[in-house]
Symmetry: C2
Subunit: 384 residues, 2 copies
């Protein structure tokens, strides 16, 4: 792919292992979903948790006022410093995080937290009074039994919203996440999960509005369901994260193909195991992560599938074992790998099980754009 290009110089100079991003594919993934969601007359609120690199935001978000989701206050603070204002911190709020939330509020950042308990509502009200602020909050709805949240018909939903409405905090709406959709492997079940997610959110909003509670935000989303909605009436926004890079878990679920996977780990073949007909590579779990997301899928991809440096998927090869700094590639059918095809020193790309996990092992992403002949380095915002 980079064969006859200035980019090859950059590619060759980098030590392996490194995280490679194919920018046209990345851009395609972003455009595809934004077009689908906006085509359904809804807003997209991407999740920053996969990318966590500020250099990605101009591609992710059309404007500084565009909405975004985060999984840590660290991401929120980084985005705020880059001028982004509309942020949902989408992990159940804990007291220890509130000073940082209040700090961003005081700077005019519209940060919203999520909760699913009376205790948390009281916490937010008390904190708001004591710190002369008004913490904005969404109630998390449980749409499929996967995680936290209140089921739409649970009377606690109205109780919590009323507590917030009547207290010093500020109730902004509801949010749900179809965590069970990761167990879907065909279009029909994906569409059902997507519809279920919509219905649960719409029902929750209806219950609230029936008691005259204003429900501004009705937020739903997961990458599998985000690509499977047929109607978004009653929904104000859709969230999704891993779709920018995609990965083998998403491929297994069926919302993309391996050709849509924009992030891969470039590795060098460092040895041949003649007895086992396997290859040693210099990418171990430090470069790939230990994530085995495909282990519970119909097609288990080990620690990753391989492509050559031109991006062509090498069927029948998988990373089967990882130590800290090296891995082993074996043939899926148990045959001996033809070492002539994979000489020591040649480079391969490992497609990740779970892009969020693999990207988290890298401080920098090496972003190549063969269409514009540009090479960029993106720096990951790490930590909490």
């Amino acid at each position: 792919m980079l064969q006859n290009s200035d980019l090859k110089i950059h590619y060759d100079k980098l030590d392996t292992p490194f995280l490679f991003v194919n920018k046209p594919i990345f851009f395609n993934n972003l455009t595809r979903l934004r077009t689908e969601i906006e085509g359904l007359k809804c807003e997209l609120r991407p999740h920053f948790k996969t990318l966590r690199a500020l250099e990605s935001t101009p591609y992710l978000l059309p404007k500084k006022s565009s909405p975004i989701t985060v999984s840590t206050m660290k991401e929120a603070e980084a985005l705020a410093s880059a001028g982004y204002r509309d942020i949902i911190y989408a992990v159940g709020i804990a007291a220890s995080k509130l000073p940082r939330v209040a700090n961003l509020l005081s700077k005019g950042i519209e940060i919203k937290v999520i909760l699913d308990s009376v205790e948390q509502a009281n916490l937010l009200n008390d904190f708001s009074i004591n710190n002369h602020c008004a913490i904005s909050a969404l109630i998390e709805i449980d749409c499929d039994g996967h995680r936290g949240g209140i089921t739409p018909d649970d009377p606690t939903l109205v109780k919590i919203a009323q507590l917030l409405d009547r207290g010093a905090a500020c109730f902004q709406g509801i949010l749900t996440h179809a965590g069970e959709s990761y167990q879907c492997f065909d279009q029909a079940s994906l569409r059902a999960a997507a519809q279920n997610e919509v219905d649960a959110a719409v029902n929750a909003a209806r219950h609230l509005r029936a008691t005259d509670i204003i429900c501004n935000i009705v937020s739903i989303g997961s990458t599998p369901t985000a690509h499977s909605y047929q109607n978004l009436d009653g929904i104000t926004e859709v969230r999704a994260g891993v779709y920018g890079f995609f990965d083998l878990v998403m491929t297994g679920i069926g919302v993309c193909t391996t050709h849509d996977i924009a992030a891969s780990v470039v590795t060098t073949v460092i040895g041949h195991n003649k007895e086992r007909g396997s290859l040693f590579i210099d990418a171990g779990w430090m470069a790939l992560s230990s994530d085995r997301g495909t282990a519970s899928q119909p097609k288990d991809c080990g620690y990753g599938l391989l492509t050559d440096s031109a991006g062509k998927v090498l069927d029948n090869l998988q990373v089967t074992t990882v130590n800290q700094e090296h891995g082993i590639i074996e043939a899926v059918d148990g045959s001996n790998i033809n070492f002539d095809n994979f000489p020591i020193g040649c480079r391969l790309h490992v497609l990740p099980n779970h892009a969020c996990a693999t990207a988290s092992m890298h401080q920098h992403y090496h972003v190549f754009d063969i269409q514009t002949n540009t090479y960029d380095v993106w720096t990951r915002v790490q930590g909490w």
Copy 2:
């Protein structure tokens, strides 16, 4: 533990999740092994791959001339910049790493690489000639069929050593690693693995010396075998890495107890799942890693066991599920957790499956010493 101490102020001020190091326990672990190995009249060459923090080196190594092992050139360069000189880069050498090796050699750093093939030997000789240097190399010996390396009786061993001896590179000796020892769960099998490791190395050295090849270094080691040697005659040094922190995998193997685990992830209880009688915590795989090293052990510890903030192990609790930024704690016996004992906002420590993996998810370690009443922050050397 930090109850009546100035340290509590630091502890309480830190946002969770964070990596907590109990320095007296850490120091104990280091002292224990060094005393054992030096008591057997041998040298200890710790592995830096677990800690990867320069602030740890004064505890790890008595002098700047003390020997150390690394898993990446990044670690080697960091140690060299801190004045350490005697380094083994213990992952099978690849061509792409050699310029960095040569760079350190030119600065007088005694860095040694490892290899197990004729191709690599030729590579080292050619590079040495072409770059006017003499790459020092050890041949990796396969002592237990676990990984790479040449078996002691394989004639290729002598062939490779002779190639190096007669070429521009510099043959320094042999190195082995008892990778299969991680499958040992009792003292007898650990001792057998340790003895086997010694025998393999001694045999390999003997074969070489029988052909008049000088074998200066005879290097063996893994944390399990390092704690199980009865005699080290013929061995010049022992390597081990995770023993500084220890972890649940090492506890399962039997070389330590949970009381010896010096590194843990501090997390906050952020929610109660009343239906399932489980706790939500703010530590997910981003804080813990996805490593499930105990999954194949007699006692599977899920994603980690728990202690209270005083360090007392909470039997019957495990982290059973992790998402990116939150985790779920459940009772091992399936009972409902008594929420009164774990109120929202309370802190727990997660003991890691695999300390090398968990530490790798953190940019900083928070090191508490209740004996000297000191608190330090160590910074991890990340990347490649």
